[in-house]
Symmetry: C2
Subunit: 422 residues, 2 copies
């Protein structure tokens, strides 16, 4: 595991030197990043006819062609991009390929290359000697831990896996009797339970939020409090009922999801409520009540959060969506329609009685990146509708970031300190 403690900026001005990205594997020299934020990609395939770089919106909004040298190496240098984590791949003669030089991350329902970019703006020459350590990288000081659990789901008939974060103090002998609140935190479509720990750096974000370290970085603390020590649980958002199981006992909350995303996540709400939460409350020192339970998710996980938490307000009192897909309209190709969001009727009418909702829900928090234009705009519009209906809601728009992990890291950094403060 490597982090950008420093980027090389040697010798004469203008001759900036590049170093392998922190996500580059030890056997490879590329991709490399320059101190000014540019990135060089390189790929060896002498017999290919065309190679293009494709990937996250913040990295390359359009495919970027690579050019081949006499030795069969395809290369391109791209200008400074949005900092943080981006998925990417090469389009080789029309076929999607990973970069053998890079680590892979589970996204798009497959292993996908990813690159972690430092901030080209921040890393100006005077900062090279005073390293910039982001809020999603480890700091010295007490660390939380990540845990992995396999469990056999009776509802799906399959082994599942979840990842659990425990805060820095959890295992101190002095805290052996202390119980903690829990945040259930979901990944997006095509990802899995490893998304938040691998792409997201959830443990570092939480550690830093708890220690108040986020003020070391570009997000000045301002009025943001330090986060409470809490447990974070990340499960796989995909689940289908075991073959032969009838519809009896199926959670109707699934029906709050737009039909076009229901498919292979149909059973997830049931698994979460009936299997995962009881298991976590059994294995960990949780405070097992609604006042100390939150749910949040990104994109598809945001849609799941709305569907599940809003239909189980007896179990959750803090709700967050990051680039949440709850407000999107179905793609035209789906041939299906979701009714527009209406506070009086949507989500089983949970917003209809604003006073009741506001007294029950301690936080409804919704974030998006300004570069994910339609989600950002739909968030703005629907928050207006909620507010017109007197629902208390916090909205956050992350400047310049897209439908990518940097938006979701920032959302968690903003959201976590607001939890369980009452």
């Amino acid at each position: 595991m490597r982090f950008y403690n420093q980027l090389i900026n040697e010798s004469a001005p203008g001759a900036l030197q590049a170093v392998p990205a922190t996500t580059t594997v030890p056997s490879a020299e590329y991709p490399r990043v320059y101190a000014d934020g540019r990135v060089i990609f390189r790929f060896h395939l002498p017999d290919a006819k065309t190679v293009q770089l494709e990937g996250g919106q913040g990295l390359c909004p359009k495919p970027v062609p690579l050019t081949k040298d006499a030795d069969g190496y395809w290369t391109v240098t791209i200008p400074p991009s949005v900092m943080g984590f981006h998925y990417y791949w090469f389009n080789v003669d029309g076929v999607r390929m990973n970069d053998p030089g890079s680590q892979t991350f589970f996204g798009y329902n497959r292993e996908t290359s990813g690159i972690e970019l430092p901030d080209g703006q921040q890393i100006s020459s005077d900062l090279v000697t005073a390293p910039v350590i982001p809020f999603y990288a480890p700091h010295e000081g007490a660390q939380g831990q990540l845990h992995e659990h396999s469990y056999l789901s009776q509802l799906t008939g399959k082994w599942r896996r979840c990842i659990v974060y425990t805060p820095p103090d959890y295992f101190d002998a002095a805290n052996a009797g202390t119980r903690y609140p829990v945040l259930y935190l979901q990944h997006g479509a095509g990802e899995d339970e490893t998304g938040w720990s691998r792409q997201g750096g959830v443990n570092f974000i939480m550690d830093n939020a708890i220690h108040g370290n986020s003020s070391n970085f570009f997000f000045r603390a301002g009025t943001t409090p330090e986060a409470k020590e809490m447990i974070v649980v990340m499960d796989n958002g995909y689940a289908t009922y075991k073959q032969g199981t009838g519809s009896d006992g199926r959670d109707p909350s699934a029906n709050y999801l737009p039909a076009f995303v229901r498919g292979d996540i149909e059973a997830f709400g049931d698994v979460l409520i009936k299997e995962l939460i009881p298991m976590i409350d059994g294995k960990y020192r949780t405070i097992a009540d609604r006042d100390h339970r939150a749910m949040a998710g990104l994109s598809m996980g945001g849609a799941q959060t709305m569907a599940i938490a809003l239909s189980h307000l007896d179990m959750f009192s803090y709700i967050g969506t990051f680039s949440g897909a709850q407000f999107i309209t179905p793609p035209a190709s789906s041939g299906r329609a979701t009714p527009p969001f209406e506070p009086g009727a949507s989500y089983g009418g949970v917003f209809a009685d604003a006073a009741a909702f506001n007294s029950k829900v301690r936080l409804l928090w919704m974030g998006a990146g300004t570069a994910e234009l339609s989600l950002s705009e739909s968030l703005r519009q629907n928050v207006e509708k909620l507010r017109a209906a007197n629902i208390k809601v916090v909205q956050f728009h992350s400047p310049g970031t897209a439908h990518e992990w940097q938006t979701w890291r920032i959302c968690l950094n903003k959201f976590a300190p607001l939890l369980f403060q009452a």
Copy 2:
């Protein structure tokens, strides 16, 4: 996470059906395995000129050509192979590429495709209805847990990561005062701290060994006892001293390693002894003495185990090597020579006084697969030398398995029950 609970064997005899391998990603249909153990690989790259399958010795000892259809899909079906986990990749016009249809695993210093194969021999038709669950897959019943820790190493100046397994009973309230012995378990060259948990299934092997479940599988329990509950710690075996650190304080045990493997693992012994073990003894309820501490490793990790444990017998009393590289001779290309193993002189003369050694070391265990011919033979020869010198040593030869994870899984399955029984 999927396991082979059952393989499809529908309809007429001879028309055996194939299912995606458990290591195939959800977005892909290939690679697929047949109930009789054959495997189909498929790869889409219309413009490639040649595609070959390459990988682990147990999967394809020689490159296997794929053939292209009119739609640009390259396909091959291979005969039943050695069961278990194999690394593989495609050689595309001379360039190594991963299979987009498969999960990747950290091996060969990069992300590498891997496939988990069921046993073609065992999975005959009568067993399809009585599923074969291997000793490295989850069973119902109490599960141990995996934990992940990041720590800043003062010796290397870098953040490092280790994975820790705690046994099923560790977090039971009734055991809050119980302390456990610890096994330090290392990966091989080109792998990292995730090898044992991802490729190896260490948590399932340990759970099953502790529950005595291994008798459910092809390794009949016989006289093998159930394993003790123990903690297992898996660190990254690569470490180099921080720049500017002199040689003062370097662990001389590094010098027991053949020079040609020393390079980027030079500092590992020091990190293990001075940083990792104290951290683990601080964070976990360990029994922090030599009688309750073991070290083992595979291949390069076996060489490290010998170098480190034999020079720190005040800290370890159980030692295991799985396909350990301690006895190999340097590759001719290295231009370097290691003296042949001599019990009277090698490893600082630790074997010279057999009575002293045998009274100190409760178990010296060495395993290899019979299909890794030179390692298997050198193990046999050197165990003879050890026995001629009156050193007590257990050797194990895994039938038909090669320098691959199936050998190391079996070694751990055999080794773990012998630990801490005194």
